[in-house]
Amino acid sequence: MALATRTARGGRPERPPPTPVRLWRSTIGKKTVMAVSGALMLLYLVFHMLGNLKVFFGPDDMNGYAHWLRTVGEPVLHHEWFLWLARVGLLAAVVAHGVAAYQLSRRDIAARPVGYRHRRARTSYATRTMRWGGVILALFVVWHLLDLTTGHVNPNGEAGRPYENVVATFSTWYGNAIYGVAMVAVGLHVRHGFFSAAQTLGAGSVGRDRALRLTADALALVLTLGFLAVPIGVTTGIVE
């Protein structure tokens, strides 16, 4: 069989396409792009969550931290350059992640054109909600930027005063509702995503699977609770 196929294929082409092209064309390669972009966003989320907790130390602490973020890297970097570099990197990650998710999902759906008459719910909730959960997250990111970055939809919307803006958002019912749904969505997405990314990047092994799943659960729980602490703090009056 080996010889026959070799003759038929005439060997592999002399010059395969460049590695990034091959990566993007294959299912495994595209999944790798998702894993790496997802991991970058995840890393950002951890620092973002920790930064948000500054709200519990009062306006000076929080606003001072926000100001400091704009000075990171000075004098090598210009004012706000670090922030803009991070923003460009995150935007690239979101776009790559979303485009790869869309293309892979189309392919996956086409690969199972006819379903089973005898249906059973079999995969976990977090696994089943990766696609729509991801879309919810993308929409949330847009609202979140308009709320706390540009201030367009924020009841306070004062540049350089994140503490007051955050309190304003969580003093509205819809601010709490949108944010609450999104943080549960993040937790679910990370719960499946962290394990999935480890698998995709080749870190999975028979002995390590359990530890990876537990880490994913812990990470998801810490992120969701850490992010939810802020609206809960504002609603209960701990933060005002």
Binding site: M1, I28, I109, R112, Y116, H118, T123, Q199, G202
Partner: protein, 246 residues
Amino acid sequence: MKITLRIWRQSGPEDRGAMRTYELDGVTPEMSFLEMLDTLNEELIGNGEEPVAFDHDCREGICGACGMVINGEPHGPDRTTTCQLHMRHFDDGATVDVEPWRAAAFPVVKDLVVDRSAFDRVIGSGGYITAPTGSAPEAHATPVAKAAADTAFENAECIGCGACVAACPNGSAMLFTAAKVTHLNTLPQGAPERESRVLDMVETMDAEGFGGCTNTGMCTSVCPKGIPLASISTMNREYLRALRKG
């Protein structure tokens, strides 16, 4: 035992197909699922009806031919092949749904028979080693580390039945391809084609229209040979390593 069967009937690739209901009496708990279908077919032939087409060969759980989805689960409720599934796993009076493997890459030929030649083409593109043929090689000529031998053996158990594809919501062949890649790439005998094997097999797998992996784990949970999900991670690792090497 009395069993109500709802079976997918489709006269050919172009037929739309539908579920048909059959009442079958005289089923015994020690019958295998295929023997139960044989009994049904004898009855159908006796009535001048077309028997239900299904694939089977060894009937001892090693060839992988006998794939069908029983009550929504590939190979049914027991973690084994359909030929090794016995009717004692069903209650008297139970209703049992039987459907073919569903995947774009596995078109239905007739009733429960699907065309799995896409698997052969994946194997043909890299699931082999280059070795001199002739008499059996001296067993000690190529030392294999114990851990590598164990991993290779675990993955070599794959019988290519396609249950992984049938269970996967994406109709993905990752577990099958991963078992083959892991089996051969772990062994020194597979080392000469280590990079081209994984690159070519994944390329063929994609070209055949199988979906991608979303790590749902459905494949490994239905695999009659217990190929672990970790094999997919091994293949991903091998794939990325081979791409880096160019």
